[in-house]
Every structure is written in C-alpha cells, then in structure tokens.
C-alpha cells in the first residue's frame, strides 16, 4: 500500500462502527445491566394543569418488590433544572425563569409531568406500585396553544411569569424596516404556523444510575448527546455534587436529533435516589412516555411581511413570532426562537433591513427545545414561503426572484447579526434545477392535468448557521456555556493512535470520519486509529454534538491536537536524525530531513517518545499525547437549494412527491457516503414535518392526542421518494478542514420546498394558503373551500 492510499479524505470509506451494530453487539443504555439493579417507573400527571393537594404513597410503599418511592417533597436540597441561555427582553429585563422541579412540587403543568419516582425489583412491580399512589388533584383549566396562552384571562401557568410570557425579544432595525415598507412597490404578507413536532429517535430515552459507597461516587449511563454538559448541569446546578464524583457515560445512542441534548428530570432523580437505595437503578422510557416527556420541537405562530421594489428586489422583512416554550424552560429552549431563528432571516438574500420580534410563551405542554435544525427550519420556512408568495403575486419566476436577490459578495454582513464567510448560491440553484429537470416541468404539468392531477414545483434556497460560536460572542448573547470543543490525540508507543473527542456520535459515524481525518494527517492506516467519545471518565471536558458542529468544531480540535503531535514529533525526529528541527518535514507518515533521503517513520518517533533512551530529555518531555481546545471564530454557513415536485390528486387530497432534488454546499467533505446519509435523513424529517407529522394536544383538556405511532404519523419507506442529492463546495474560510456541517440541512430546506410545491400545484385549484402538514384531509378541505 503506498503512502497516498492512506489519505482517504473525500472517500466513501465504509463505517468502522457498522460491524458491531449489524451483529447485534451495539451497547445502548438499555443493554447495560449492573448486578443487583432495580427498576424505576415514573408516575406522571394525567392532567395538563392541576394543583396537587396531597400525595399519599403509603399503600404503594407496602406493595411487593418496592425498594423506594420518592416524590417532590422528598427532594429537599435538590434545585430545579437550569436553562442554559439567558435571553434579555426588549424591556431590558431577563427572561422569566420559573422553577423547573425535578419532580412536581405543588402543581403539575403538563400531561406527563413527573410526580413520583417508584423503584422496585422489577419493572412490573414498579408500575403496579405506582398505581397505588394516591394523588389528590385540583384540576385547573389548561392552555396548549401559544397564542391562546397570551390572551387575557388565559390560565396562569407559573406565578413568576405573568401572562404566561417568558420574554419578548427583538432583533434588527425597526425604523429602517418601517421606512422601507413605506416606499415598497409590493408587500407580501403571510400568517404561518410552524407545526409542533415530536423528535422520535427510535431508541427511547433511558438511564442507569449507580452509587458506589467505596468512593462516594456515581455512575450514570444515559442516552445523551453531550455527557459533560449533562454532568455539569446536574452536579453544579441541581444536585450540588462535586463534578468529580459523577461519571456520565453516553454509550451507543440510538439517534438524538436534539432531543437527547438536554438534562432531563428522570436521570437527575435517579442519580439522587441511587444513593438513597444504594443499588443501581434502571429506567427506559416506554414510547408513550417519550411522546409525553421528550422535549418537542418548533411550535411557532408567525406573521411575516416582505417588502419589494417593482423589480422584485427585497427591501425589507418584518416578522413577528409567538413561540411556545411548553410548561418549563428546557436546557436550550430560550435560544432557539431567537438566536438560532431571527438571525437566519436574511437567508441567501441581500434584504437590507430586517426586523423580528419574538414572544416566548409558556403553555401546558411538554417543553419545547431544539429539534433537528432548531430555529433554522422555522426561519427558512418563513423566508422561502414569503419568497414563493411574492414571486407568485408579482409574476416573477421562482428561480429568477431568487437570483435577483442572492448575496454574491463575501464576507457578507447581514442586517441580523451574522457575517457569512463564504457561499455560492447560484451554483446550487443551477445544479438543483438541472437535477430536477425544471425545463421539462411544463410538459409534465400538462400531462398530469390531462389525468386530472395537479403538479407543482417548489424551491427552497436555505441557509443555516452551524458550529455555533465563538464562545465570547455567544456569552454576550446570553449563553451560559462555552461552545468550543476538545480533542486529545494519544499516540501509543507502538504507533496506534487513540483519539478522545468531546463530540458524540449517535448515528453520525464519527468513528469513521474522525479516523479518516487522523489517519490521513498522520499517514497511518485507519485501522490504527481508535475514536473514544461519550464518557466523562475518559475524555477531556467537551461540549458534545448538536447544531451540525462535530466535524467543523470537534474535527478542528482534533486537527489542532494533531498539529501539536506533529510539532513535537519533529523535535524528536530532529534529535534521532541529528538534524535541525527546522529542517524536518512531515509527510506521508514520515519525518524527513528536507532534501535528503534520511527519515524516521511515525511509529519510530512514537516509540522513541515512550522509550526515551535516545531522546533529548534535557529539552523535551517524553510521551506523545496532545490535547487542543478549539473555539471557532465564526459560525459556518451551509446552504443550498432544494427543489420538490409534487402531484396532487384533487379528488382525494393526496400529495405525492414525484421528485426531490437537493444541491447543498457543506464546504469540504471527508466522507461523501456519510454526508449523503445525513442529507437523506434530514430530508425525511423535513418531509415528515411538511406532509405527515403534527403534534396535537386537546385544546380543552391538554391531553396529548398524538401519543403513539398509531396517531403520530412518522415517515415510512413508502412515503418517501428516492432523493437526488449533489454537493457544491465553497470551503469554510475559518476552520482548517474547510468544513461547514451537514446534519440538519435536509430538515431545514425540505419543508419549504415541499410546501411551495404544494402551493404551486394548488394554485390551479384557487387555493391560496395551507399550513403544514399537507395531509389529504387538509388539502382536500382547502380545495373544497376554494370552490365556494
């Protein structure tokens, strides 16, 4: 094998992790069974809003197999769960942060709110005992819709949040926007609902908490995307334990999509209780519990306006959004409809003035937080629906109106705080149009019309901001955490390399992509690289995986650590080769003396570092183990155009996706196969939102009506087409990999592409507007309504 074969950057290397998953040897949290463990069950509120008059656990405590039962009253000295981002309102006041108790104290605020932790010898015994707990509720009226929650006379959910308002926040120059609207030739206005979604990773949340009297320490296995953040929040903010006493392990995790970022009450209560019962405690959510208690996504109600000149140039945008927070503030809830939403409203366009006002509202529902895309799908949906409607109203072609407004000079400072470093929006649009055969569309539409079907074509030219950064700016905007990442490269004496990363893989394939990066840089075979993640007992303090950041931020930290390894290796090699350090170059796995054929292999240098017999011990420490923390200087800005073609049957309202073409710019790509897989998955979730999925709570009772896979429509194989995907590359300018991130793009771009296609198709039937999801029922109704 030549040295160049070891450079696999840009190759679809098959995944290292697949073998264990394919033979059933993955180790997920529910597969962890410590000896002598007990089982937990959480008694949850059946009411959306109620006072707890009295809780009687005496009968339950006497039930067979019960090991311990704890309610909110038992958790003395335990604080509420914190929110990680402080938003300051337009009134200069901090957002309202009402307590988020680990178990309900005096009141329950959504169906599924935790009342008691029941621990027993078997899961069935825990469940049976929970039924014996007597809770005396005084049921209160509930409110589940964010707009209703703001109305006067709405039920008050928290004493500390009058009018159910968490904050009103704004971004942009209102006066400039008002002035631009005043002189606009055309104004497009839309009222938009961004439907609430339930993330539904196929692995339900789970935890196994153990306490050891030997060291007064705790071990928590948990389905987490970021074990260090979990540990920090749990110990320092809630339980008051030293961080050193809690080890958090996120082993193989079966999908996250945001829902496993957060510190949840369940594992917090279990860690606390594991010392009380002095036995390991295991809990795995049933799917119905996941529906009730996982943090949900989206749930925005928006009024948006776009001002244009007579040529279709965008002059200004005005957006008002009411965003549901749910019953309590989940870990990052507050920054989603603000920092990750309003800042994206420039999209790919030169709109000179933008103003966005957001009111965040408590409702009697599960908490809402980041779900794949987190704020950016909502922003894209607003922008791209406006662009579609404006073009349709003004009689401008959909591609043309985009081209008239594309940003083409970089870096570009938007009026909503972001500085785009690079991009190439025309290239993605052109390619997507080719892939979608836009030229042939008119003929296809005519042919479909002959069959009585309505065809539509929809565009979505989205942008996202990934690798959220830099820490100091995020801090100024309210982040209560750092946003760097860590990588440690430990070269072993025999030349194998163990990499410890703060990023966490729950399907993204880091073990492969990161190995490619390391192996290619060091000129060693991929098999010689081991990636370790997800264990606070093994990795340095890292921030985990969310916001498509793993390669751009986590990968860069690894690159920086590799640079240090190479730099030290050069010193060692210089000694071994009796040459000047400045003359040593590292290439293809060898340290060479420049201009000579004298060299030392990477493995020889590694061995010398650990067996330092011939070594500059007076000048250099032994060992070859380097750590780097990387704090990005800017966000990265993946962008692209998605084009969707649909055929609607006006008799049934069924929307069929005929074609979906996506051309994305993720910067440089390490493993195209993995990137395509990420795009496919994102598109499926985006299409799910637009066509199928919708979380519904009963307006009166606050009961979750879509609480199982029988009621909540998940995308299945037959719902989806084969996607056409392609990429264009403008490398990110501020990280050494030139990578931007690809995990969320599909979910961000797809909903608007699909809904614009649906609107394009339904225009022939006189339908002006429908909301997601475009179910047959909704489409058929809209067609009927348009007839009258």
């Amino acid at each position: 094998m030549g040295a160049n074969d070891l450079n696999t950057i840009g190759q679809s290397v098959r995944r290292k992790e697949d073998y264990r998953f394919l033979i059933g040897a993955g180790q997920y949290t529910d597969d962890v069974n410590p000896p002598h463990h007990t089982h937990a069950y959480f008694l949850r509120s059946p009411h959306a809003h109620a006072k707890i008059r009295k809780t009687d656990t005496s009968k339950a405590k006497a039930a067979p197999g019960v090991v311990g039962i704890y309610t909110g009253a038992d958790l003395t000295g335990v604080n509420g769960l914190p929110c990680g981002w402080l938003i300051t309102g337009t009134d200069g006041q901090p957002m309202k942060e009402p307590p988020h108790p680990v178990l309900a104290q005096d009141k329950v605020r959504y169906v599924g709110d935790g009342i008691a932790l029941v621990i027993a010898e078997t899961p069935d015994q825990a469940k049976d005992a929970a039924e014996l707990i007597d809770v005396d509720y005084e049921v209160l009226p509930a409110v589940v819709n964010p707009v209703d929650a703001l109305k006067s006379g709405a039920p008050q959910i928290h004493d500390g949040a009058p009018g159910n308002k968490c904050y009103t926040w704004a971004l942009g120059d209102k006066a400039a926007v008002d002035a631009a609207f005043a002189k606009a030739a055309h104004v497009t206005k839309l009222d938009i609902v961004n439907n609430r979604l339930i993330p539904n990773a196929i692995e339900p949340r789970a935890a196994v908490a153990s306490y050891s009297r030997a060291d007064d320490g705790y071990t928590l296995y948990v389905t987490s995307q970021n074990p260090h953040v979990e540990r920090l929040l749990m110990t320092a903010f809630v339980l008051g334990l030293p961080e050193t006493k809690v080890r958090v392990i996120a082993p193989d995790v079966g999908g996250g999509f945001g829902s496993k970022i957060y510190l949840y009450p369940e594992e917090t209560a279990m860690v606390w209780a594991s010392k009380r019962v002095n036995r390991p405690i295991k809990w795995t959510a049933e799917r119905s519990e996941s529906f009730l208690s996982d943090a949900h996504g989206r749930d925005h109600v928006t009024h948006a306006e776009l001002a244009l000149d007579k040529d279709g140039k965008f002059l200004a945008m005005r957006v008002h959004t009411t965003a549901a927070m749910g019953a309590y503030l989940s870990t990052f809830a507050s920054c989603i409809p603000t920092i990750l939403y309003a800042t994206l409203l420039a999209g790919q366009y030169t709109t000179p003035a933008i103003y966005c006002e957001v009111t965040a509202v408590f409702t009697n529902t599960a908490p809402v937080d980041a779900y794949r895309g987190a704020g950016r799908p909502e922003a894209t949906y607003v922008v791209e629906r406006l662009v579609y409607a404006a073009a349709a109203e003004m009689g401008i072609a959909q591609d043309e109106i985009r081209r008239r407004n594309f940003i083409r000079k970089f870096p570009y400072q938007t009026p909503v705080a972001l500085l785009y470093d690079t991009g190439g929006y025309d290239a993605c649009l052109d390619e997507a149009m080719k892939m979608a055969d836009v030229r042939g569309f008119a003929a296809r539409k005519a042919e479909a019309a002959k069959r009585g079907k309505l065809r539509g074509l929809g565009y979505s030219s989205y942008i996202e901001a990934c690798g959220i950064a830099p820490s100091n700016i995020a801090g100024a905007l309210g982040a209560r955490a750092g946003l760097y990442e860590v990588g440690e490269v430990r070269v072993n004496p025999t030349g194998g390399v163990t990499v410890f990363t703060g990023s966490h893989s729950h399907g993204q394939g880091h073990e492969t992509t990161f190995s490619q990066v390391v192996a290619s840089r060091l000129g060693i075979p991929i098999e010689n690289v081991e990636i370790v993640h997800g264990d606070t007992g093994r990795i340095p303090f890292g921030m985990g995986t969310y916001g498509s950041r793993s390669l751009a931020v986590g990968g860069t930290a690894i690159i920086k650590a590799l640079d240090k390894v190479v730099a030290k290796g050069k010193k060692i090699a210089a000694h071994l080769l009796e040459a000047a350090e400045a003359d040593i170059e590292f290439k293809d796995g060898k340290f060479n003396v420049a201009g000579t054929d004298r060299s030392k292999a990477f493995g020889e240098v590694a061995l010398a570092a650990y067996v330092p017999h011939n070594y500059p011990l007076d000048k250099l420490e032994p060992g070859l183990d380097e750590t780097a923390f990387y704090d990005p200087t800017n966000f990265t800005f993946p962008a692209g155009t998605h084009i969707c073609e649909v055929e609607v049957d006006p008799e049934t309202g069924v929307v069929q996706i005929v074609d979906f073409s996506a051309c994305d710019d993720f910067g440089n790509i390490i493993n195209p196969m993995i990137v395509e897989g990420q795009v496919h998955g994102g598109l499926a979730q985006g299409i799910g939102q637009a066509l199928l999925e919708c979380c519904v709570y009963d307006k009166e009772t606050g009961q979750l009506l879509t609480g199982s896979y029988m009621d909540y429509a998940m995308p299945r194989a037959a719902h989806l087409p084969s996607f056409k995907v392609a990429t264009k590359v403008t490398p990110c300018t501020h990280n050494p990999l030139g990578a931007k991130g690809c995990g969320e793009a599909g979910a961000i771009g797809a909903p608007a592409a699909l809904m614009n296609a649906v609107h394009d198709a339904l225009a022939a039937a006189g339908v002006k507007y429908i909301d997601m999801p475009a179910t047959p029922h909704r489409v058929w109704n809209a067609i009927q309504a348009a007839k009258h």
Partner: protein, 156 residues
C-alpha cells in the same frame, strides 16, 4: 406462577421457567441476554424488535414468549456465520443502510423475510414491504438500496 418454556434460539436449545406474561422480546433481552433485539415502541409499530420465528419475521414485542414454545428463533446475533456477516448484513454496511444502528437488527431480519417472499422485489415493493419498520435516521433510501443488494447476494 411460572411456566416452562423450551425453544431453540440461534441454533441453541433453551429451557426456562418464566412468568407467563413475559413477552418474547423480554425473554430474549433479559433472560437470554441477547440485547441486539431492540424495543422502540409499545404499540407494535416500529419493528425494532423483529426476529425470525421458524424463518418468518415476527415482532417479538407482539407475542408472548410461551407462544414461541418449540419454535426456532433467529435473532440478529444468530445471522453471522463464524464472524462472517450474512449477505444482508454485508449489504447494509456496503450501502450505508444504517446510522445509529437502533432500527438495524429489525430492518435486517425484516429484509431477509422480505427477500424470501419476494426474491426480485423492486424499489416500490421493497418500500411497501418495509411498512412495519421505522427508521428515523436514514430516510430509508440506503436501506432500500441495501435490501436490493442483499437480495441479489442472497440469490447467488
């Protein structure tokens, strides 16, 4: 109260005394320690728990363990032969038909059942037949590709 159960799992005879209400998936995971069979829902909708019973795909959360009395059960752990993956497993790897891996055991076993019934299934057929298996990661595209490729390999 417990009942006697005897069956064959991955070629090995198993005997146990179990609570009669034990689901097959619970028996496989908890009593036999075969944790490759996953549980993703409580309504028989996700297919993560799929195993083969006498060669046919069955959702192991929808039947009691005692209903598998005397049956031959194959779980994901029983597919590879001396460390060499079954052609369907190999196709999933080759086609990137898995991401988080949680739905994967059920997908692979459903796919084998599908191919046994429809050796020449086209894309449309494969998509329709995967109706009972949810995947939240892959968007199904590479799963469909893997099933087609695995089918071709199984025909050989």
């Amino acid at each position: 109260m417990s009942v006697a159960l005897s069956l064959t799992v991955n070629g090995k005879a198993e005997r146990a005394e179990i609570d009669p209400r034990t689901l097959l998936v619970e028996f496989i995971r908890n009593d036999l320690g075969l944790t490759g069979t996953h549980v993703g829902c409580d309504t028989g909708q996700c297919g993560a728990c799929t195993v083969l019973i006498d060669g046919n795909a069955v959702k192991a959360c929808t039947i009691l363990a005692v209903q598998a009395e005397a049956a031959k059960v194959t779980t994901i752990e029983g597919l590879a032969n001396n460390g060499e993956m079954h052609p369907m497993q190999a196709a999933f790897k080759e086609c990137h038909g898995l991401q988080c891996g949680f739905c994967t055991p059920g997908m692979v076993l459903s796919a084998i059942d599908l191919v046994q019934r429809h050796p020449n299934a086209d894309e449309k057929k494969i998509r329709a037949e995967l109706e009972g298996n949810l995947c939240r990661c892959t968007g199904y595209q590479n799963i469909v590709k893997a099933v087609a490729q695995g089918a071709a390999a199984m025909r050989r």
